[in-house]
């Protein structure tokens, strides 16, 4: 900084002359006399012949302002684009749901997930259908992938769903096209274990896991999971069968309430 001041002081006379000339020329160029008009036109001609210089100096502030406006618009269009993409995705999902509802032999009530609760582990969600839409406690809830849970409590226009992924959820299932049945208990990371399946039951990896129908709540043949591993341990009375659940509650936005008379009171 001190060097700068010293430099300015050293060149003060030249800088002062430059300033005086600059002001004088500015005054000249702002006149309306013929000389000034001629100078102004000459100046405009020189500047016009040097568009890059003009671009870099006189229009810098205006380009900065324009750049700022364009950036703002870019962000706005980005948000709009994301919104449109989300709408398109939702539209596709709703079309899938519509097709699913038409294919299903059950009477279904569509609803939207309106809350996922505040718990760190997702065990319930709230949907936008309640008693006004005919929803009752223990009604099965389906997603496009399969069984999602059951109604835990219900209000006029909302219901709390106990999710199939919650560790306290239990459902009677059958495995593959066999008559082998067991009790599904969820574990973690979207997986579960089927208890009560005897060894050598001809269960294979990839076999579907469906609701058995031995329930007052769930009708039979609702898709629940797919077999991931099968272990027959020596000395054990039952096979250890690990399944991967179809439903992904954290990503589900639209659900169906199964309205038929399987639910208990």
């Amino acid at each position: 900084m001190r060097n700068l001041f010293e430099w300015i002081y050293y060149l003060r006379e030249l800088l002062l002359l430059l300033l005086a000339v600059l002001i004088s020329v500015t005054l000249l160029l702002t006149n309306e006399s013929r000389q000034a008009v001629f100078l102004q036109s000459t100046y405009a001609g020189i500047i016009g012949a040097l568009p890059r210089l003009n671009l870099g100096l006189s229009d810098m502030s205006s380009y900065r302002e324009e750049n700022s406006i364009l950036r703002e618009r870019l962000i706005q269009y980005g948000l709009l684009n994301a919104e449109l993409a989300e709408t398109a995705r939702e539209n596709a999902q709703l079309r899938q749901m519509l097709a699913f509802a038409r294919r299903s032999p059950h009477r279904l009530q569509a609803a939207e997930v309106i809350s996922r609760g505040a718990a760190s582990l997702l065990s319930t969600v709230t949907i936008s259908a309640g008693t006004n839409q005919g929803v009752r406690i223990n009604d099965p809830i389906l997603s496009l992938e399969g069984l999602l849970g059951k109604v835990l409590s219900v209000a006029a226009d909302a219901a709390v769903i106990h999710l199939v992924t919650d560790r306290n959820f239990r459902v009677s299932v059958k495995l593959g096209d066999t008559a082998v049945r067991g009790i599904l208990r969820p574990t973690q990371a979207g997986r579960g274990i089927v208890d009560g399946v005897p060894p050598n039951s001809r269960i294979g990896v990839g076999d579907p896991v469906l609701t058995s129908g031995f329930s007052d709540i769930f009708p039979r043949n609702l898709p629940v999971a797919v077999v991931e591993t099968v272990e027959d341990l020596p000395g054990e009375n039952f096979s250890r069968i690990t399944v991967r659940l179809h439903s992904q509650p954290s990503a589900t936005e639209h659900v169906f309430v199964l309205m038929e008379g399987y639910a208990g009171s």
Partner: protein
């Protein structure tokens, strides 16, 4: 009080420029008393004062209607103030030839800038332009030479 003294001389120069210069004009060219005063001021007080005085006096000269182009005298006299300010401290060191070169050179420079700008857009011929330049520079030089005999630069009353 150098400033007050300089201001008094400036008033006198302006009065001479407004009242006396038209009587001493050669064709369209009038002598420039303010330019003479500026050379004295610059030689006495240096470049910075010369530039400031040149700009201020020139602007006032423009504002009083001496010319129709505002800024032309401020421009040319700022340059003269810078050039003539170089003489400050060197008058007794440099040879008379070098001193004269600075003084009369500044007059030529003033005439060059002033007449060139004034000729812009007027379809002036080169001959006429040169004539005006030479006339102005000659008149200023003549007056300066006469004054230097009466009031030497090294002992100016400013």
């Amino acid at each position: 009080m150098p400033a007050l003294k300089a201001a008094s001389w400036a008033l006198l120069a302006f009065a001479g420029q407004l009242l006396l210069a038209p009587l001493l004009s050669v064709g369209e060219i009038r002598p420039d008393f303010i330019l003479i005063l500026l050379v004295y001021l610059s030689a006495r007080y240096g470049r910075v004062t010369g530039i400031l005085a040149g700009f201020t006096l020139g602007l006032l000269q423009d504002a009083t209607g001496a010319v129709s182009v505002l800024g032309i005298n401020a421009l040319s006299k700022s340059v003269v103030g810078y050039v003539a300010g170089t003489l400050n401290g060197n008058l007794s060191i440099w040879t008379p030839r070098v001193v004269n070169l600075y003084i009369y050179g500044s007059f030529v420079g003033h005439a060059l800038i002033y007449q060139s700008v004034m000729a812009l857009g007027l379809d002036s011929t080169a001959g006429l332009l040169a004539n005006h330049m030479v006339t102005e520079a000659f008149m200023s030089s003549l007056m300066m030479t006469g004054l230097r005999y009466l009031v030497p630069l090294v002992r100016s009353p400013l």
